[in-house]
Symmetry: C2
Subunit: 320 residues, 2 copies
DNA sequence: GTGAAAGCGCTAACAT
DNA sequence: ATGTTAGCGCTTTCAC
């Protein structure tokens, strides 16, 4: 059996209450402090986080819920989140819901049963009931990269609509009229916003008839297949692709079909600059502030755990 | 205050013990099961894992320690691990040690303080003291993708030496003599093994004088920089790159310098087939069984938690 | 500054 | 199949 606070009490001739006070910054006489420290050293005592959590209702653990853990955009965010959290003594328990609504709910219940103090979520369900299992139980939630209709959540997003509109305007200003977009399923928040930005830019330029939407599934393969479908029919003057992985896939498919993105066809991707630039020198991409998303998400969840209000924060992406 | 098992008891007219039996697979009458399920639904009950852990001395949580979470190879593995673990009711708490030995030790202590039942580790320190903090406390450990000198650990690795030798032999059999290798720091287990396979293949073919090693830092940029350095001096007949991310970077750098990997220069990468094939049709790569690594790691840690012995498992990679 | 005592929510041994 | 009871290890009043 593991060493407990009672063993320390016996060892030092004090009581559990005093040992507890010692651990929690209470007033303990110097020579008793020393006795306690010696006893810890001698016994190799490790505080039982279960008992502590049972009393305090705090786990110092944050649940993180992602559509796909094998996704550079997601991991770039949570890498920064993890670092921020750990600095503050918080751990991060990660679940992947494979972009499936049912698994999303299951994973959330699972995380809640792990007694997480808060949740950072790239949600699929963005309706008014988003993350209800958590908010019902008064577990604070930060939605990242998604705006939801649940006012109890904090939201950390980028200026999806504006930056997409700006991106498409930049393609238009280069003389392009036939601009196609490869976008995820429009039930996904970011896809809808980015598509709306594209549509409005096209409409405002009088290019309503040129609106051309191809659905991709948010993976490299999704972008690849979507571009193959598109280019199998015709080569547009320009192509706008609205996620990291799909940008890589779409540029690959174009290359595959003899169309070099950025020279044979104007190309505006999302985030994948590092991977694509050497192969397709002429491409442009929207660069999202991923580290900032991760950091702000971590700071926001901790602020909520400490009793702070829900906040909505919009960060700015840029075109490069 | 949160809903507890007592509330369910009151709601159903049963006692806490019966509710507990229900959760733990005990025999409960069908109509009582239904009552319980309705009560759970109605109240939004979530089981308190602190109380449970306090009784059972099990957290049903596995710590996962990675060099870099933003690394497709790592996330491909842990994605599968996460799925396997969750099916068995285990959560996964992830730490990234940024390829730094000191942070590795800190992160391990952190995970242990979270009372994890076991640890899955892509370790940096592979000496006899690897993961000592865990083994000292009788917390089982599975080392993935690394062999260590600590006999208490289980190990799940691929046939690094053999597959590298085979890969280089295949380059040699195509008539190449001047074959360079881009490899990580040789203090890393996989880098050392893969480099040894390369060297022995070269030696056995009488190409000792052609051995040419360039160090990369295991990232896309590392591969990119290494290839730039190499190709700035000369273009070898063939290039062997020993990690996923470096393969992408190296092929990008080559393209950048007007050398198309797979046609201007034979190219053998690691894992990055999907990303590179469309751009560089002629490339070959070693394909690691990443999902299997993740699954076997999960199965092995659970087996150890259930009292099973440490095991060493070697999985086979293939060339495609 | 320290002690005594209660209780967090659950499980498990035993009784029925 | 279900109820009774005790206790996991800690924190937290409330005394002294």
């Amino acid at each position: 059996m593991a060493v407990t606070i009672k063993d320390l009490a016996r060892e030092t001739g004090l009581t559990p209450a005093t040992i507890s006070a010692y651990f929690n910054g209470g007033n303990v006489r110097a020579y008793n402090k020393e006795k306690i420290e010696n006893a810890i050293e001698k016994t190799g005592y490790i505080r039982n986080d279960f008992a502590r959590g049972l009393r305090t209702h705090k786990s110092r653990t944050i649940g993180v819920l992602l559509p796909e853990i094998v996704n550079k955009f997601s991991t770039s965010i949570i890498s920064e989140t993890e670092e921020c959290l750990r600095k503050r003594g918080y751990g991060m328990i990660v679940c992947d819901y494979r972009s499936d609504a049912k698994r999303e709910r299951e994973a959330m219940r699972f995380l809640l049963s792990k007694m997480v103090d808060g949740l950072i979520v790239i949600a699929h369900d963005t309706g008014p009931g988003a993350c209800r299992a958590a908010t019902q139980n008064d577990v604070p939630v930060v939605a990242v990269d998604r705006m939801t209709d649940n006012p109890k959540l904090s939201h950390v997003v980028i200026n999806n609509y504006d930056i997409s509109k700006k991106a498409v305007n930049s393609l238009i200003s280069r003389g392009n009229k036939d601009i196609a977009v490869i976008c995820g399923d429009l039930s996904v928040y970011t896809a809808a916003k980015r598509f709306a930005g594209y549509c409005d830019a096209m409409k405002e330029a009088g290019l309503t008839d040129n609106i051309s939407y191809i659905n991709g599934d948010l993976s490299v393969k999704g972008g690849y297949d979507a571009a193959k479908t598109l280019l199998g029919k015709r080569v547009p003057q320009a192509l706008f692709v609205t996620t990291y992985e799909m940008s890589i896939g779409a540029a690959m498919a174009a290359k595959d079909m003899g169309v070099l993105a950025g020279s044979d066809m104007d190309f505006m991707g999302f985030d994948a600059m590092d991977y694509l630039k050497p192969f397709c020198p002429g491409i442009m991409t929207v660069i999202q502030p991923v580290e900032e998303l991760g950091r702000v998400a971590a700071e926001t969840i901790i602020s909520m755990i400490d009793g702070g209000p829900a906040r909505n924060i919009v960060l700015n992406a840029n075109i490069r």
